[in-house]
Point group: C2
Chain length 362, copies 2
């Protein structure tokens, strides 16, 4: 237990490394001026290469460019090996830096590759999507997918700094912004009723993103500070993700195409809000509020019943579960979440049918 | 800097996890009785499966057996993926345990695989070679080889416990015991003149291994405690390894066959003792003592001159070097080592010629 405490302090100190700015170039330059790296690499994908790199290129000293293919399907050990190979070919020593410019895939995988190259070099994150800014960039979870399981291989480590600027949102499609917004909604639902109320009645396209990102990052930082290694409280961040991840993974290979993370999590949150009324006392009134709002934002696409079995199987392999019990995080009320609530296969099936029934009646 | 301090305390606390015993079964049973793991796997190779597993099998509860092919050439990302795959197929959750039964390859790679599966499960080491007992098992360095570079991908993490029993030495070939003995000699040379004197006049086959292992582990633990992340003092453990690793890696693909780690390190220590007389004041008398003793134990095999260029190249890629400077750890006297001594390509060439000249005159 003492060990855990020390490790927590360590991550806790690092939780102050998030900088929300109106000019990413000022913060990036200030960071680089403080340090003296022997080599610098920048990791991007074809999208951030085209749309985001030009926005910071003038602040970058000489660097190696590592470009990978975008998409969750490339967040795997093969791509990770390409990154290690680039470091090796550039003769990167331990005093090198990796700059991750992109969404969650770039940040998670780049952070993992940097943390394991020569037992760890520095890295910084410049998250370019709403999802990465409010979720993936904070909390030290790094890794890659393996054998179809999301983030199956990874570790906990923190970037030297996370520089957040909403200027990058101009480079995103509206569905991508919406996908990140699912995590914003989640933050309100699990931890802050006022925040939920403030976001639940505005239009996405008119949002004040700096303010939203700031509040969401605050909520997530607060939770992670108190429980960096997910032994208890931090699990509230998994609300919507037990079933949502199962849905997301199932649709990875589906002929109708993949769901964006937030689209899957929105469905997961409806399912788990339904289970919250059965298990943790969420009122029917609040369930309706949550479901209606999520359907309004994310639309009403039914989940194919023939996939239910596959969803169940993937949920049983989730790394958050112990043995054969599925532990979920469920709402007691809007703004209040309980953790380690056991749910069974019939519960999950019921909740998926509930989701589909909403789509039917809408 | 505060961060580093906290991380050090963390590893420092864990440095008390070495148990030297006359009955591995008692310690293993005691450890397992204290814990309650949901799944247990044992990692071994064909040698430890045949010769070592029978010695502990009665103390093992139900477990998954993961057998990999022995040898440094299999300490790579492909084998690591086989281990992750076995965990996945066994539906291992975060409350699982990996038992590493074998030498340095098993301990380093098993520890890395466990530390990155679902962001880390517990592992324990039962090192079965002298080399692993006095060197690899202590100090938290885990990893795999990559693109021809030793331990190129990895991280720092500590096993829950390291159980050391010399009973396993009966399963080793004499050359394997001798290979581990190179690290024992190194411990004397870098940190303890009395220890050096006590080991430098006995016969390997009559050695009191428990006592030797105990003293060597003490020396290594002491060093690692003071500098877990190798920012200074810990580098003394690299004596003989700057040039030794270059030689070892070069011989990996050599038609005359590979060198065992200790055989390469013995050559490296002679080369670096020679450089110590040039750079850090080691006396000619002590150089002769060291060279003669190492040649007596490890024999006199010349290093092929056509490989010198390759050795140099590999040394330049060593993860311990910063930029274009080769930092070595050299002796000031027997029992006293200095770190961060810059050496150049001509120094290395000279030292290799020195080594070969000894072989010629012997």
């Amino acid at each position: 237990m003492d060990l855990i405490k020390l490790r927590s302090q360590n991550l806790l100190m690092e939780a102050n490394n998030v900088e929300i700015t109106n000019d990413v170039n000022i913060n990036l330059t200030a960071f680089l001026n403080k340090k003296s790296y022997s080599s610098i690499a920048l990791l991007c994908d074809e999208n951030t290469y085209e749309h985001c790199l030009p926005l910071i290129i003038d602040s970058l000293p000489e660097h190696w460019l590592i470009q990978i293919e975008s998409g969750e399907e490339n967040k795997n050990i093969d791509t990770c090996q390409q990154i290690w190979q680039a470091f090796t070919e550039g003769s990167f020593d331990r005093n090198s830096l990796l700059i991750n410019l992109g969404g969650g895939v770039i940040g998670d995988m780049g952070g993992f590759a940097a943390s394991t190259y020569k037992r760890g070099i520095d890295f910084i994150n410049i998250p370019t999507t709403l999802l990465a800014q409010v979720d993936a960039s904070v909390g030290g979870k790094l890794g890659i997918d393996f054998m179809g399981f999301k983030n199956h291989i990874g570790l906990f480590n923190e970037p030297e700094v996370i520089i957040i600027d909403s200027i990058f949102f101009d480079t995103l499609l509206p569905v991508e912004v919406r996908s990140g917004f699912a995590e914003v909604i989640k933050h309100g639902l699990i931890a802050d009723q006022n925040y939920w109320e403030s976001i639940s009645d505005f239009e996405l396209k008119n949002a004040d993103w700096s303010e939203i990102v700031k509040q969401s990052v605050e909520i997530k930082k607060n939770v992670v500070k108190q429980d960096p290694f997910e032994s208890g409280l931090r699990k509230i961040l998994n609300f919507g993700h037990t079933i949502g991840h199962g849905i997301e993974s199932t649709y990875l290979d589906h002929p109708n195409g993949r769901l964006l993370h937030g689209e899957a999590i929105a469905k997961g949150m409806i399912c788990e809000a339904f289970l919250s009324t059965k298990k943790t006392g969420l009122s029917k009134h609040d369930l309706d509020l949550i479901s209606n709002y999520l359907l309004k934002v994310f639309g009403h696409e039914k989940i194919d019943e023939t996939l239910f079995e596959n969803i169940i199987q993937l949920i049983y392999q989730d790394k958050k579960n112990t043995g054969k019990v599925i532990n979920s995080s469920l709402l007691q009320a809007i703004g209040k979440c309980a953790v380690n609530i056991p749910i069974g296969e019939p519960d999950i099936i019921d909740s998926l049918f509930y989701y589909n029934s909403l789509a039917e009646h809408s």
